[in-house]
């Protein structure tokens, strides 16, 4: 003769709602088979859910349980997955910063002393050319005559007679 199991009492229904595993196997089987006990359990569960919802909505601000946003739940997501454009920007800025850092741009490495000396010599030569060009941009022939030319003309044999030495002011010179 099969043992008849009575319906679950109120305490057992509560236990079933909180944690069904706390009931023994026979009671659990009854809860599964008995629609009345099952409906009673569901009704209690629904009532608790409704009560929870009301309490969450109606509770004053300082009584509410603080909620943590999804981003801050501790699940790490790389920045390039959350915002790809930001990730690209950060990567580009990092590369640029590295390239322009004092470690990369070593001034003394670019301007070695030998290179500076070489440039100084070249610049000195260049500036001498500039000065010459600035003083007189034309060949001398186009600007004036060489003072020596006058002497050459005076001493030109074709225009001179013996003993007629002529000074630049036109006077005769006794030799």
């Amino acid at each position: 003769m099969a043992k008849k199991i009575n319906h679950l009492d109120e305490q057992q229904i509560i236990e079933a709602v909180i944690d069904e595993r706390g009931l023994d196997a026979g009671l659990r089987r009854h809860l599964f088979e008995c629609s009345a006990c099952h409906a009673e359990m569901k009704a209690l569960q629904a009532g608790l859910d409704r009560f929870g919802k009301i309490s969450r909505e109606g509770a004053p601000e300082h009584f509410r349980k603080p909620t943590i946003s999804e981003l801050g739940t501790g699940v790490f997501k790389p920045v390039w997955k959350i915002r790809p454009s930001l990730g690209i920007g950060v990567a580009f800025a990092s590369i640029l910063a590295l390239l322009l850092s004092p470690l990369t741009l070593n001034r003394e490495r670019i301007y070695t002393l030998d290179a500076v000396y070489q440039e100084m010599l070249q610049d000195d030569k260049f500036m001498t050319e500039i000065e010459k060009l600035e003083e007189n941009p034309l060949p001398r022939f186009y600007v004036d005559t060489d003072p020596g030319d006058d002497d050459k003309e005076i001493q030109n044999p074709g225009t001179m007679r013996d003993n007629d030495s002529v000074t630049q002011d036109g006077g005769s010179r006794d030799v």
């Binding site: 001034r107 003394e108 301007y111 002393l113 030998d114 500076v116 000396y117 440039e119 100084m120 010599l121 070249q122 610049d123 000195d124 260049f126 500036m127 050319e129 500039i130 000065e131 060009l133 600035e134 941009p137 034309l138 060949p139 186009y142």
Partner: protein, 144 residues
Amino acid sequence: MFKNALAILAAIILFLYPAICRAKDIPPGRWWHVPYFVEQLQITDEQKDELDKLFDYNRNRLAELKKQMEQERSELIKAFDQEHLNESTAITQMKKLENTRTLLAATRFSYSLELRKMLGHERFQRLKTLYRNWPGVQQPPNHQ
């Protein structure tokens, strides 16, 4: 307008010509990278950067003007040496050459001027003294 500006510039240059003549008192090249000058004049990294920019700009401009002057000079000589002389062309060419020469002098002077402004009176005078006493680029670096 442009002619007037050039005339004023030429007058300024003539007035300041002695200062331009003293340009040789300033060391050539990037002397601000030579420890001898840097240590004595306490040139900072920022000043080195500024001097580099000034030097690059000035020398590039001088090179451009030099090239321009050489072209204008050859054109003038060509006009002058033609069998049938065109006097007005030769005079115009001469004026162009003179204007470029004025610009060249002004550019050369502006370098000294900027240097003087950047260094201040005391350091500029000290630079000239240091340059006079400098053993020169022929000396090995460790002798500086």
